[in-house]
Amino acid sequence: MSERSDEDAELMLRVKRGDLEAFEALVAKYQQAVMNLIYRTLPDATEAEDLAQAVFVQVYKSAHRYEVSAKFTTWLFTIARNLCLNEIRRRSRHPAESLEASVGIEGDEGVRQYRDVKTYGPEEVALQTELEEKVREAIGGLPETQRTALLLCCENELSYEDISGVIGCSLSATKSLIHRAREALKLRLKPYLKSGVWAGREA
């Protein structure tokens, strides 16, 4: 983890000196993680991608302020979270639903989410889709701070200290957020946890 962060810091220092290749490497490395974090908050692929792009542009614009003392991932996910929150605030002020969003839900959204569709039969695919939908709903139903803390912990493997840096609260409060998020998910996904469907798919 520290090797990775050293590497990121090195790349970021090069970006600070105007090296676009270093920036491209950082984008390639973290695009999926940023995209996933945003997509869990704003579940529309097109909008999430636009916002992810804005996150990286913001990273580039703020590169001159980057200090090696700050871990790159903490800095990156803080920017991503702030832009997400801004977008949520903007939407609450102008609650107009975009055309792209509705097309996404009814149109290609389902297709986007299928993985390895050819590997499984129609019954398994249907089951998998249902599970994915339930998990997505359950995660999406969490309060923003709990969801972000949980995803940074489970998907992006940030340390608890780094997560508390992104969320902007104490270490104990961060752990409490993750704990509450997990308890809520366990409650909502109880049948799926017990059925072992996912374990079966793993095998």
Binding site: L20, M35, E132, K175, S176, H179, E183, A199, E202
Partner: protein
């Protein structure tokens, strides 16, 4: 800890936090379970399995795939941003004030010079104001001096008569003027 209470008290906080992150290795897991069985605690295995199942659900739930041209789109946006910043910088440098601003930002000599100019202007203004006040005072003193130099009031007693005599002399021509002179004397 709250977490310990919520999970039945069987799991300690460190173990729980490592489980959340999926950091628990197979051998560690086996060791913890054997220790727990010796102690005869609660359903630790069930709790560990539940936490692990939840980890699987979260990590295997697909996120949103990023489009293949995402990086190139970001790089394009960054290049546009660079061009915009350059344009703005150039626009800022154009014009008298922009030029002065850029010059001031660019060199410490310019900053010292500008500070010196401001100080000179300030001191000059103060000196000018003092000089103006002194001149005003001198003028006032002159007026007072003139008033002090006027004749005594007794000499001004026949002022009107003398004035009228002057008018009579200016328009003297005939009998009328003699009468007028007489009237004035009276």
């Amino acid at each position: 800890m709250k977490q310990q209470n919520d999970t039945g008290g069987a799991m300690n906080q460190e173990l729980l936090e490592r489980l959340w992150r999926g950091d628990l290795t197979g051998s560690e897991r086996a060791r913890v379970l054997s220790e727990e069985s010796v102690r005869g605690g609660g359903d630790l295995q069930g709790q560990i399995e539940e936490e692990e199942a939840l980890n699987r659900l979260i990590s295997q739930n697909p996120g949103c795939p990023v489009s293949t041209n995402f990086t190139s789109r970001v790089m394009e946006a960054v290049r546009l941003e660079q061009a915009r910043a350059r344009r703005e910088a150039r626009r800022g440098e154009k014009g008298l004030w922009g030029g002065i601003g850029a010059w001031l930002r660019g060199s410490w000599v310019a900053q010292v010079l500008a500070t010196g100019l401001v100080v000179v202007f300030g001191v000059g203004s103060m000196v000018g104001l003092r000089t103006y006040e002194r001149r005003q005072l001198a003028r006032s003193l002159e007026v007072v001096r003139d008033v002090a130099a006027l004749s005594e009031l007794e000499l001004l007693r026949d002022f009107e008569t003398i004035q009228q005599l002057g008018r009579v002399v200016e328009s003297s021509s005939s009998m009328e003027s003699d009468a007028a002179l007489l009237a004035a004397l009276q």
